[in-house]
């Protein structure tokens, strides 16, 4: 699908500031980093989780475990989607039992992927608590899912989308508001 | 004219004129555009005045030859009426342009005695198609005891065969050849070595390997062809090889003829136009016995038909009910229908490509009748009208659902052909399809 960039909501500098602010909020709300772990949702949620973990380590001096979660097998649109999505890596290199997990994703929209991620995490273990951190909340929830930490709230209309670019796989760090042109 | 188009109630050829046809009869050096007059089933050739009360059929552009004869057909009656009857098989023959067929005895019960043979002859007696019965060579086709050949020859039988399988016991084969020869009749052999072919479902080769199907080696047919040739030489008898399919068979038959050995042979459209690769989708419409072979075999068969090593072109028309063929490939019965596609296939792919029209006529009009010692039809004044009417430019698509045969198992479904049988005239009847 082609898209047309309507606005640059967050530029590279703004991106770094948002990560820093989120890291501080997470540490504050959790009163420290005890039993804290990040789980990033494929794909860009993983890079965000890694950056947040590094920032928290910078601030608090302690390293935190980071897991990678692919939710493809838990989606609710299997058999109604155009193409079978690729199944990506899931790797949680620590025991989830009794951990305070911060689930990280780049864009929160209907809430369906987070619902799938919650089901996946439950099948993988029994965390003590799960909080949700997202870089952008674009509204239009279809399920009762609420983020605990939000980078930016961006109200959007139906034919708009929010695209997050990260230097790990894109050419820049940015949050873009785009207009989607249907093929 | 509508009245001549009926298959169920064929019209009498009392008084009709086939106008403007190109009449071709190589044995009479005839190849001319003229009018053919038919009165009470008898021919006279124009130019003459057309009687006012005659039915005149404008058949300009059509070719008329003496009636085509299919030397190898299965009419399935008695016992296999689900797949075909004598009536439906003859209608299929007419639709395909054949005025005569030789029907095989592997019915239930087999045609191995005079009573059964007479029954078939009587059923066919009133039809426009001349049905010659090939009787079984051995009782119950068991390959052991000879049938009562002289009684059957008195009835009109001129060929004996255990078709469907070979006569494996060479002593029995030898005796059958000698005895039939004494009576002026011939043994038709389905050439195969059953021990080599046992369990086989298709040709043994690259494709049976790719498809995991048990194979029937070409060696099986070739070995039996050679056995028949040498036994025929030893007994000085005549032998006919059914449905030749392998390159080596053609080579041995060619050699035998050069030696003056009395061997004749037939070839079917599927062995001339298809190869074993066609089985790749496991479609049982490509399963027959002998099976489709490799490209070298196909080319050898084409060459054999062209140079006359293979005397006649016939179909081995083998109808099967739909549900019989709708089974797993290795379990489904062998056989494909052919009466209604043979002529179209010949005109589209053979005549003008591998042999000329006169040679084709020799293969389908004269050769089969000579093999059965039958009188030869002719296009001449005073002769009984025995004609095949062909539209050489007529294009059509093979649609099995439109067949007159009760069965639909053809490997040529969907083929686009140029050249179609327009009708036949024979035994006082005329069946001519509307344009």
């Amino acid at each position: 699908m082609d898209y047309k960039v309507k606005a640059v909501l967050v530029d590279s500098a703004g991106f770094a500031r948002t990560i820093t602010r989120l890291a501080h909020e997470i540490i504050e709300r959790n009163r420290g980093t005890e039993r804290l772990a990040f789980v990033g949702m494929q794909t860009r949620g993983v890079y965000l989780a890694q950056r947040l973990a590094r920032k928290v380590e910078e601030i608090e001096g302690t390293g935190l475990p980071v897991g990678v979660l692919d939710t493809t097998m838990y989606r609710d649109d299997f058999r109604t989607a155009l193409k079978q999505p690729q199944v990506r890596v899931t790797e949680i290199p620590f025991d989830l039992y009794n951990m305070n997990v911060v689930l990280v994703d780049d864009v929160l929209y209907t809430g369906r992927s987070v619902r799938a991620a919650l089901d996946a995490l439950m099948d993988l273990g029994r965390p003590k608590r799960i909080q949700l951190a997202v870089l952008v909340d674009r509204g239009h929830r279809e399920l009762p899912i609420k983020p605990d930490f939000v980078g930016r709230n961006v109200p959007t209309s139906i034919n708009e989308e929010v695209r997050v670019r990260m230097t790990e796989i894109d050419s820049e760090d940015a949050v873009l508001l785009v207009e989607v042109q249907q093929p | 004219m509508r009245k001549y188009a009926s298959f169920d109630e064929p019209a009498r050829a009392r008084n009709l004129v086939l106008q403007g046809v190109r009449a071709v009869d190589p044995e009479r050096n005839l190849d001319q555009v003229l009018d053919l007059h038919i009165r009470d089933g008898m021919l006279s050739i124009g130019p003459r005045e057309i009687p006012a009360d005659a039915d005149v059929l404008d058949l300009r552009g059509h070719v008329v030859t003496p009636g085509w004869f299919d030397l190898h057909v299965h009419l399935r009656e008695p016992g296999g009426e689900v797949a075909e009857t004598i009536l439906s098989g003859c209608q299929a023959a007419m639709n395909g342009g054949f005025t005569g067929v030789a029907c095989m005895p592997n019915t239930e019960p087999p045609l191995d005695d005079a009573g059964r043979v007479r029954w078939v002859m009587e059923k066919a007696a009133s039809l426009p198609v001349d049905v010659q019965v090939v009787a079984a060579a051995t009782r119950a086709r068991a390959g052991k005891q000879l049938v009562e050949m002289s009684e059957l020859v008195d009835l009109g039988v001129r060929a004996f065969s255990d078709d469907g399988k070979p006569i494996t016991d060479t002593a029995v084969l030898r005796h059958a050849l000698e005895y039939a020869n004494m009576l002026g009749a011939r043994i038709f052999e389905h050439a195969d070595d059953p021990d080599l072919s046992v369990g086989g479902a298709m040709n043994e080769g690259e494709w049976s390997t790719r498809l995991g199907l048990p194979g029937m080696p070409p060696l099986g047919e070739t070995l039996d062809v050679l056995r028949c040739i040498l036994t025929a030489r030893y007994t000085e008898a005549a032998v006919h090889i059914c449905h030749v399919s392998t390159k080596e068979s053609v080579e041995w038959i060619r050699w035998a003829k050069q030696q003056g050995i009395r061997v004749t042979a037939e070839v079917c459209p599927h062995h001339l136009l298809l190869t074993d690769e066609r089985c790749r989708e496991f479609d049982t419409d490509f399963k027959m016995n002998p099976p489709l072979r490799g490209e070298e075999d196909r080319q050898a068969c084409l060459q054999g038909l062209a140079d006359g090593t293979l005397d006649t072109y016939c179909t081995d028309h083998a109808p099967h009910a739909w549900e019989a063929k709708a089974q797993e490939f290795d379990v489904a019965p062998f056989g494909v229908v052919g009466l209604e596609t043979a002529l179209g296939l010949a005109f589209t792919h053979l005549v003008g490509h591998h042999l000329d029209l006169n040679a084709m006529i020799a293969r389908v009009v004269y050769a089969p009748r000579r093999i059965l010692s039958q009188p030869l039809p002719a296009i001449a004044t005073g002769e009984p009208a025995n004609l095949t009417i062909i539209d050489p430019e007529g294009s059509w698509t093979v649609r099995p659902e439109e067949f007159r045969s009760k069965s639909r198992n053809t490997p040529f479904k969907g083929w686009e052909l140029t050249g179609r049988a327009r009708g036949i005239v024979n035994r006082g009847f005329a069946v001519i399809k509307e344009a």
């Binding site: 838990y74 989606r75 193409k83 | 995991g212 989708e281």
Partner: protein, 315 residues
Amino acid sequence: MSLLSHKHLLGLVDYSESDITTILDTAERMKEILERPVPKVPTLRGVTVVNLFMEPSTRTRVSFELAEKRLSADTLNFAVSGSSLSKGETLLDTALNLEAMKIDVVVMRHKSPGSPHFLARHLDSIIINAGDGCHEHPTQALLDMMTLRQKFGTLKGLRICLVGDISHSRVALSNIIGLRIMGAQVMVCGPATLIPREIERLGVSVTHRLDEAIQRCDALNVLRIQMERQDAGLFPSLREYHQYFGLTRRRLEKAPAPLTILHPGPMNRGVEITSDVADSEHSVILQQVTNGVAVRMAVLYLLAGATTPPTEMKV
């Protein structure tokens, strides 16, 4: 449409390198799921799978059943004895009955080559071939390739030799087809009476000497030899077979480098393979079994995908 450009898995013959790579990559992901405390995902919930096993088989059927259940599909088993097939119902009628029951996926094993193709002509369901006579056994070849890829990193240029009754082996044919697509070099080794006609045309080399094969390959896939072949006169005795084609430790020691050993199972210990080889550190036979479930999960996942027109994908 799935990630694969196919509706069915009737054989590997029409699959591309990219298709096979997709299946193997997805199978690696599925393997991870099998190692979880709750080794189950809800992906095929509501999907009905019938295991139509018309030839006796426990291991393949169990492997498929496990794969289906791990994906939360509803599974039904139609086995030979006790089903309508043993009462003489034709394959066609069985197919039409399944069609009337609106089954999503049929996993079929049958003794006749082409029977899954037959079913595919008569049913709307997705058909997965679990072995059709002596024709193909695509999921076995896929799990063999997954195992080899895990061991060697790639299949390209890998030299594999299949040993045994090649002419009656669907495992051999699917392996030959699949490995050639992936760029491996394939050799077959067995008695002349058990090597099918013109197999060189499939791009494999042929030898009748196991010692020669051992010198020239990286891995051996040892096929089971069946008693029925001796009865059919295709080789004189199991004793002789073991003498000349049996894989033993002593034979393997002559290899220039240690060979990886595969076997589709079940093994005739002491005939085509000895225990000291089957249980050695170079044997990957047990990994094959684990990979089998993962590969079958991958195939089910990739084929049982979208069947209705696309709606907007919402995240």
